[in-house]
């Protein structure tokens, strides 16, 4: 990922900054210009809770080149208490144990490396609560 495109999304990726629509209250992540629910254009910043529940999941056994070292890895759609859904990897566990309904926390992790000499790209991944320290999810 070229660094300007990465840099632009830092608030969402590093701090899980989302936007709450003034019009309808929907929390939108990542933030957008226009609310997909009511077309409102005014948002107030809100931080997502760093926890959620798996809606659906898979284990990727054939990965893009940038993720070969991680393979196989679990990915899931995780819903936070703000009813925001994120597509994230699920780490620090046996990938096949990740199933819908599983409680997870969201932790700051290295997501990808741009080859041998490019930038390092960070963001959040999910960790099953059984593997996480519950204190960290607050």
């Amino acid at each position: 990922m070229p660094s300007p495109r990465y840099w632009r999304e830092i608030p969402g990726r590093y701090r899980l900054e989302a936007g709450r629509c003034h019009g309808c209250g929907k929390v939108v992540y990542p933030t957008r210009r226009i609310c997909p629910a009511c077309r409102g254009a005014e948002f107030e910043p809100v931080l997502l809770s760093r926890r959620g529940r798996v809606v659906t999941s898979t284990v990727l056994r054939v990965s893009p080149d940038d993720f070969v070292m991680e393979s196989p890895y679990a990915m899931a759609i995780v819903e936070t208490p703000e009813r925001v859904r994120l597509m994230v990897q699920v780490t620090d566990c046996e990938p096949s144990t990740v199933q819908p309904g599983m409680e997870v926390t969201l932790e700051f992790r290295l997501i990808r490396k741009e080859g041998q000499s490019g930038i390092l790209c960070y963001g959040h991944k999910a960790v099953p609560v059984v593997a996480a320290d519950t204190a960290r999810s607050r």
């Binding site: 999304e9 859904r85 819908p100 790209c121």
Partner: protein, 382 residues
């Protein structure tokens, strides 16, 4: 609006065509269509291609195609909507003729996927780059999540998923242009390599080279080119949330339903009138979700269709008689046009061993990404 007919079709064999370049794939399919109609001039060319720039480094393929067809000068443009590019090109060509802007339009789709590019990475560009691809998801991964959601909601089983692939291969074995000419049994699907749980290799459409082309003209002129034209009576396009995570129900394809509603309304028919359908089975789960969203079966009942034979040749509504994306092959930009060719042949009674008896209405449904775009066309025998 003028009524529009498809009067000729041309299609390369689908497969790993190492000797054939992107431009030659297009020319081979286009030439077959032009020759079938005895045509040596065109008003416009619409070519669907998802990722020629990434697969072979070539953008700007509208003029490339016109030039290599020996028709530099003709209006030509590319249409892109990921794997729905071919179907969207047909939509554009349909509007071009219906509006009266052009009288003779070639709609083609082409993709040269086997040319050294990392196909998994190229296809992943159809996902949301900021929220999906960034995190490392692939298309098998996205559809695997759709499959797992469907299993959670409706109790769909791995065996039911596998039955879709078995049916596709059985149909594809009857199609001389299909990438895979072999049948597979349930056991071999269910024990094939896991790609993205629960999807296995034999649930996935292959990486394919190929091109397909159809010739469109006003219905009133159709008999000049063929004695068996097929009328385009419905066209519906819709979009949905780009990212799978943003869909209310990951097990349901809203855009497919919406595009189908629009096409049915325009054609003034309902799903019960469809005699044959080609749907976007890029993965086995996609066929199950598509036939539900198209109304060919009830929501949640898609899983029973392949095992019961309902969607097989000889069944209530045969789906993907060509072998579908799964067995015929999936050269992404060409797929939408190839689907139309299968239905065109079915309605003309030219489908050989795959022929659906006395088909009058046929439907094609072509989808982009994990379902963010969908285009449905309804064709009628004249």
């Amino acid at each position: 609006m003028r009524e529009v007919a498809i009067v000729a079709a041309g299609m390369t064999r689908f497969g790993e065509l190492w000797q054939t370049s992107l431009r030659d794939l297009f020319v081979d399919a286009a030439t077959e269509a032009l020759n079938a109609a005895g045509v040596d001039r065109l008003d416009a060319i619409f070519v669907g291609s998802m990722a020629s720039g990434q697969f072979v480094g070539q953008e700007h393929i509208g003029p490339l195609c016109a030039d290599h067809l020996g028709m530099a000068g003709v209006a030509a443009m590319r249409v892109e909507s990921a794997c729905a590019s071919g179907g969207m090109a047909l939509r554009a060509g349909f509007a071009e003729v219906a509006s009266g802007l052009s009288d003779l339009v070639l709609v083609a789709g082409v993709e040269k996927m086997n040319d050294g590019a990392d196909a998994t990475a190229v296809l992943a560009t159809a996902a949301d780059q900021e929220t999906e691809a960034y995190q490392g998801v692939t298309f098998p991964g996205l559809y695997a999540m759709i499959a797992r959601a469907h299993m959670e909601t409706y109790g769909t089983t791995e065996e039911e998923l596998a039955a879709v692939a078995v049916k596709s291969h059985r149909h594809g074995a009857l199609n001389p242009k299909a990438q895979f000419g072999r049948v597979v049994d349930l056991q071999s699907v269910m024990t094939s390599t896991l790609v993205a749980d629960p999807l296995r290799l034999l649930h996935c459409s292959p990486v394919t080279d190929g091109a397909a082309a159809v010739l469109l003209c006003p219905l009133r002129d159709a008999k000049r080119f063929t004695d068996r034209p097929v009328k385009l009576i419905g066209s519906g396009v819709a979009t949905g949330a780009m990212a799978l995570a943003d869909r209310a129900d990951p097990a349901f394809l809203d855009a497919v339903q919406l595009s189908a509603e629009r096409a049915y309304r325009m054609a003034a028919i309902g799903p019960g009138d469809v005699h044959v359908a080609e749907v976007h089975d890029c993965f086995s789960i996609a066929e199950i979700c598509c036939i539900e969203a198209l109304g060919l079966v009830e929501r949640g009942h898609g899983r029973h269709a392949a095992p019961s034979g309902e969607t097989a040749l000889g069944g209530r509504v045969p789906v993907n008689t060509s072998g579908g994306l799964k067995a015929k092959g999936h050269p992404v930009g060409a797929t939408g046009v190839a689907q139309v060719i299968e239905v065109f042949e079915q309605l003309r009674g030219e489908a050989g061993d795959r022929q659906v008896a006395d088909a009058r209405f046929g439907l094609t449904q072509n989808m982009g990404g994990s379902g963010a775009s969908s285009v449905v066309h309804i064709l009628e025998r004249v």
